[in-house]
Amino acid sequence: MNVPLLKVENLKVSFKIRAEGDMPWTKPRVLQAVGGVDFELKQGETLGIVGESGCGKSTLARALIRMVDSSGQVVWMGNQELLGLDNAKMMSFRSKIQMIFQDPLASLNPRMTVGQIIAEPLRTHQQGLSGREVKSRVKSVMEKVSLLPNQINRYPHEFSGGQCQRIGIARALIVEPELIICDEPVSALDVSIQAQVINLLVKLQREMGLSLIFIAHDLSVVKHISHRVMVLYLGKVMEVADRDALYENPLHPYTQALISAVPIPDPRAEREKRAIILKGDVPSPLAPPSGCVFRTRCPKAQAICAAEVPMLEGITDRTSHQVACHWV
């Protein structure tokens, strides 16, 4: 069991940007959306990925399932590299890696019934199944996500946001995947519904031994669900650690600022709290700062931060806690 389910090394995604009115021969500008990310995901584990908008969280997720072109290595179960596979060979992995999307209603085709939507991955990956078998599989997976199986012929617009997200989860589960990538699955939902969906994901993970990659910008949600947490900033990993280590002892100045900004549900404690306020905005990913990408807003920045890129390294007493900062 020591082989990680997914081992990602130096994953990079860049986009070529052409400005309006550029001549065909002008060189496009390069936007580095994900700049060399490494991580490991063990079986049955949840990796939370947090970061501000535009820091490359969703792009990272899309690179893993090859929705965008990327370079680097993504190794499945220690022996299969995914990024170099041709499309036909990638198909078998597409059923093992499924995805849940942010906007529950927009991720369901409005012209299809719930049954057709949930059955689609099954019809794609196991084409020999009879209609009756497909239907019984759909019904059993609907029960698993607490949807009434007799609603199989309804349409997405007849459901609430939380129910739609559960339809999305059912669609991901029907092919019995090993990894589910959740791209901000609860950001569009009410807080009470968020809890339902997250508890459902935790329950399913326990029952089916799923691994999850959970992308969010809500730190308390990530704390609730994750085993390990990775903090991204401008496409680079700032800090990776086990959940408790990261929340109780954040080492990177960016992580410290993020965690200090989480509201505490107790007005007295909230008033006492000292949030670290970062100055300025996230720099444009078209022109990232030299050296450490965080240095323009970092309270500890010195000359070395502009000169050298800090490596992501384990701290001395625990190698599972990795930080990319010159001052740790």
Partner: protein, 320 residues
């Protein structure tokens, strides 16, 4: 006080029992048929009086085209020698001699001629629109979905074809290859799909970035299945509206060509040809020769436009 607790308790139990019962009932209900967006649209369409009236008129016109021949007392190519030479006096509409709509200038039964013209005009309209729908939708959906250079090349071809004045092309085709109905179809079909492909491409571009398309791509559905299963059903609304507006345009085009004398040839006829003949003999006091074909022409165009309007309102209630 002590008496209150059990009372409250039983009531509570009762409520719990009721809700459990209703939950069990819901669980065991048969599969509920959902209301699709199509069913919603149908309901809105039925509430639109103008559109329903248009549909009714159109059905009546189609019935007239299909079964009117059975009512006609004369075949459409037989000359009635009783009225020839005195069409203005004897050839008027009358039930007595069986010429319900009168006769044309040559003494042929106008009722039978209008039935035949209606058949041909409706056929031209529907076939022309059908070519546009099939070719334009597929072309536009592929261009929009594939995108990039393929899209660029495909749409520039459309631009080039659009730059050609199409009436000129149709007239040229008819003059060069002889005047026939099939050549008319070729000419109309060749050019009618251009607008449709542009509209469909635009819609596809906006659909392509929706999350449900991304979800299908992520799970590995093939491009052709994404187009057929996800893009086309979501395009159908726009296509249906545009198609109903395209049918009258096709009829108008054909009528114009026939009016010029280039369209359908004798003994066949169409609304355009009949109107042309009727207009030519107006000053001789045979106004019915213009009035009957014109009446069918106008009510059909009106009903198509009303249906198109109704469909647009029904399919896109936000966009009024």
């Amino acid at each position: 006080m002590p008496g209150l607790t059990p009372k409250y308790g039983t009531k509570y139990m009762l409520i719990r029992k009721n809700s459990l019962q209703s939950l069990a009932d819901t669980m065991s209900e048969p599969e509920i048929r959902g209301r699709s967006l199509w069913a919603d649209a149908r309901k809105r369409f039925i509430h639109n009086k103008a559109a329903v009236a248009g549909l009714a008129v159109l059905i009546l016109v189609s019935v007239f085209a299909s079964f009117g021949g059975w009512l006609a007392q004369y075949p459409n190519d037989e000359i009635d020698f009783m009225v020839i030479g005195q069409v203005a006096e004897l050839g008027g509409p009358s039930f007595a001699n069986g010429h319900y709509f009168g006769t044309d200038d040559l003494g042929r039964d106008l009722f039978a001629r209008v039935v035949q013209g209606t058949q041909i005009s409706l056929m031209v309209g529907i076939v022309g629109a059908a070519i546009a729908v099939v070719a334009g939708t597929l072309y536009g959906a592929i261009a929009g979905y594939v995108g990039g250079q393929v899209d660029n090349v495909m749409m520039r071809i459309v631009d080039m074809l659009m730059a050609i004045p199409y009436m000129f092309v149709i007239i040229l085709l008819l003059v060069m290859f002889g005047r026939s109905i099939s050549m008319l179809f070729v000419g109309i079909g060749l050019l009618s799909w251009l607008d449709m492909s542009r509209i469909v491409r635009g819609q596809t571009l906006s659909l392509k970035n929706k999350e449900f398309i991304e979800a299908a791509q992520a799970t590995g559905v093939s491009s052709i299945n994404i187009i057929l299963r996800h893009i086309l059903p979501n395009l159908l609304g726009v296509v249906a509206v545009y198609a109903t507006l395209l049918v009258p345009l096709m009829i108008l085009t054909e009528s114009f060509i026939s009016f010029l004398g280039l369209g359908v040839q004798e003994p066949n006829t169409s609304w355009g040809a009949l109107i042309s003949e009727g207009a030519g003999t107006m000053q001789y006091g045979t106004l019915w020769q213009l009035a009957f074909p014109l009446f069918f022409f106008v009510i059909t165009l009106f009903s198509f436009f009303f249906i198109g309007d109704g469909l647009r309102d029904a399919l896109d209630p936000k966009d009024r």
